[in-house]
Amino acid sequence: MFKPLDPLLHSELRLAIISLLIGLQEADFVFLKEKTKATSGNLSVQLDKLRDAAYIEINKSFKGKIPRTTCKITPQGIAAFQSYIDALQSYLNPQ
């Protein structure tokens, strides 16, 4: 039986963001942009979507005079990622 895949995570960029954040304590916007090779605008939109779903926390601060945005996965985000992996397994190893 196939389990439904979370539509919020079943998108290449959002899944990449969550997969990066799952292995890190936190990451800033520049790091996520470099590693996902996304454009600033697109990354910003997708981060907002993940934050609205409470999958990530976004903190805005200043590093000297330069604004800095850091992202961190939440417990809900971790749970959603685990459910996504479970669902993915049902597609890859159907019983």
Binding site: L13, S19, L88
Partner: protein, 202 residues
């Protein structure tokens, strides 16, 4: 990277790639603190070794270890700087930092307890085990660091520390020479190699 929907196989590839990226990411200057300590301990132990062999009354030479306070000052400044400048914080970096912090604290506590033991029991021969013990602990920390970063030079460095641990017991009067050599082999060289690897990642 696009936001379009994609197949289950493709999503697995993305997850694998990103998890590997997060795991293998190193920030610039990750080994700066280790390298500084390596040079500092190597220089101090060489100075002590030379003074011990040049002076008749070499008892006060051990106070030269107070130079290592410089290492703690540098470590505190560097950690504060890194906290503000890194683009990410990873669990591997956190564990790596804690391992070396525990080692540093042990290196401060050990001589203090040795002094206490000598004062209490009067067995001054115990001092001969201090340098090899530090080298052995350093080897353990290097092995752990090598394992979390999948970085082979740290594994070889751990092996070098293990060998020097044994050599220190065979040639106890040259211990500080081996301690200095140990720092170059286990902190300075692998530290520069790790920084080079991190430069490529940035």
């Amino acid at each position: 990277m696009e936001t379009n929907k994609f197949s289950e196989q493709e999503s697995l590839v993305v997850i694998q790639q990103m998890i590997n990226t997060a795991r293998n990411s190193l920030h610039k200057g990750v080994a700066d603190i280790l390298i500084f300590w390596g040079y500092l301990i190597a220089a101090t132990s060489l100075i002590i070794y030379l003074l011990q062999h040049a002076l008749v009354n070499s008892g006060y030479v051990q106070y030269a270890w107070l130079i290592t306070i410089l290492g703690w000052v540098y470590t505190i400044i560097k950690v504060r700087k890194l906290r503000h400048s890194t683009k990410f914080k990873s669990y591997t970096n956190l564990i790596y930092g804690k391992i070396w912090l525990a080692f540093g604290i042990a290196c401060v506590l050990l001589p203090l307890f040795y002094s206490l033991a000598v004062y209490r029991f009067g067995v001054s021969a115990i001092w001969i085990t201090l340098t090899p013990t530090i080298l052995l602990m350093q080897g353990v920390c290097l092995f752990a660091s090598g394992s979390i970063y999948h970085f082979k030079p740290f594994m070889y460095a751990a092996l070098a520390c293990g060998l020097l641990f044994g050599v220190c017991f065979i040639f106890p009067w040259q211990q500080f020479l081996f301690l200095g050599l140990g720092q170059v082999l286990s902190l300075v060289i692998p530290g520069h190699l790790l920084n080079k690897k991190a430069e490529k990642d940035v």
